[in-house]
Amino acid sequence: MDDLKQELKENIVEQLNLEDIAVEDIDDNDMLFGDGLGLDSIDALELIVMLDKNYGIKLTDPKEGRAIFESIDVMAKYIFENRTK
């Protein structure tokens, strides 16, 4: 699980081009959206593609993403339980 979390952090920083954020600065329970990392609706769409491409999880409604992408912790748990690859 820790490896998965680390992988997610690295992918998020790289994929979303978060130049000013270091992987080590992201806490497992930090809010990814809003006041936390400051991600927005476009990032949510990027993360949905990441779920599909890296873990074989398909979301059809972007609204589903809101709960899943709450934090690294929540996201990792969801991926762990639902991944197909």
Binding site: L16, N17, E19, D20, G38, I42, E46, V49, D52
Partner: protein, 353 residues
């Protein structure tokens, strides 16, 4: 009708023009067929959080507009009007190649969103929280002129008091490789100083952003008055006739023009339009050119307006831009002419203020 002034400038080009306190004090010479803009430190102007999705063209546009706003001492404007001939090429290419390379799968939205032609205008508005009029013109070599024409219409009729106007285009590799295929880009590398003597097809491609605050309120620091601007999709007759008519419409004769600013790009097929004027009716007029400094791109003529504005304000004329030996001193009225590949011609008339 109110008069329209250029109150400030902001330029990012393949010369070091982003510092308004200098004026081509040192010239960067190139020996290439594609040249890039000299980057200012974008981070001084845009936070990492805001710039993380921006390709170079968007950054250049946003920063050039900030330089212009800073100089005009404005936090916002009534309208933002942008010209871009090719739009956001880097993101267009990124999304297009992703579609083709990944067979329409696993595509992400960011590059598509950023590929829209009005991304620069939209991002400037977002940054300034400017809810005013916001247009983007995308018509080849008159994209910038269309933006100026629109702004002038607004300011003359008092629909706005301050308008941010700019031209921006970025270099992108795939597009350049296509333009090389059809000889729109020169096959060979050309030294900047030899550009007009290359006698070969095509131009040296480049990129840049030149933004201006236009206003119907003159300031002590204003650069110039924009007296007139006209664009022509094609020519019915010849450029001499069009020039004569344009001057007549503005109650001017040839002698009233103190300086002619030409957009020659060294393309052996199309420089004849410039040559017709420079060796014809404007033979006895002092002439300058600039595309050996900033390269060719659809909105390169915005660099010409930057150059003319600087000349009118400083009354200095850099040695490197001189096209003929005629020496002027008191620059009051400047005429600019530009075209690309025989289409989309424009005349712009600036006056000292």
């Amino acid at each position: 009708m109110k008069a329209v002034y250029i109150n400030s400038v902001g330029s990012i080009s393949s010369q070091k023009t982003f510092d308004n306190s200098s004026f081509l004090d040192e010239i960067i010479s190139y020996d290439d067929n594609i040249i890039l803009a000299v980057d200012p430190n974008y981070k001084d102007y845009i936070s990492p959080a805001n710039s993380r999705r921006m390709a170079k063209g968007v950054k250049m546009g946003v920063v050039a507009s900030k330089i212009a706003l800073n100089e005009a001492n404005l936090d916002t404007v009534d309208a933002i009007i942008t010209g871009t001939g090719m739009g956001c090429l880097k993101d267009s290419k990124k999304f297009l190649s992703a579609i083709i390379d990944n067979d329409e799968q696993f595509l992400t939205p960011t590059s598509f969103i950023q590929s829209t032609h009005n991304t620069v205008g939209g991002q400037i508005a977002l940054g300034l929280q400017c809810k005013g009029y916001n247009f983007t013109y995308v018509h080849a070599s008159i994209s910038f002129e269309s933006a100026v024409l629109d702004a002038k219409l607004m300011l003359e009729n008092n629909e706005a008091n301050t308008v941010l106007v700019g031209g921006v285009d970025e270099i992108e590799d795939y597009t350049c490789s296509l333009h090389k295929l059809v000889n729109h880009i020169k096959k060979e590398k050309v030294n900047s100083t030899d550009l007009l003597y290359s006698k070969t097809e095509g131009a040296v491609f480049s990129e840049g952003a030149n933004f201006f605050v236009l206003s119907n309120l003159k300031q002590d620091s204003s650069y110039a008055q924009i007296v007139a601007i006209s664009t022509y999709n094609t020519l019915k007759t010849n450029i001499t006739d069009v020039a004569n008519t344009f001057l007549k419409e503005n109650n001017l004769n040839i002698e009233a023009i103190d300086l002619l600013v030409l957009g020659n790009n060294g393309d052996v097929t199309y420089d004849r339009f410039y040559n017709e004027l420079s060796s014809g009716i404007f033979e006895n007029t002092q002439q300058v050119y600039y595309k050996h400094l900033c390269g060719e791109f659809n909105t390169a003529s915005s660099f010409g307006v930057w150059l003319a504005s600087k000349i009118l304000k400083t009354q200095k004329l850099p040695e490197a831009v001189k096209l003929n030996d005629i020496q002027g001193s008191n620059y009051k009225t400047i005429l600019l002419y530009n075209q690309y590949r025989g289409e989309n011609h424009s005349f712009t008339l600036l006056r000292r203020c």
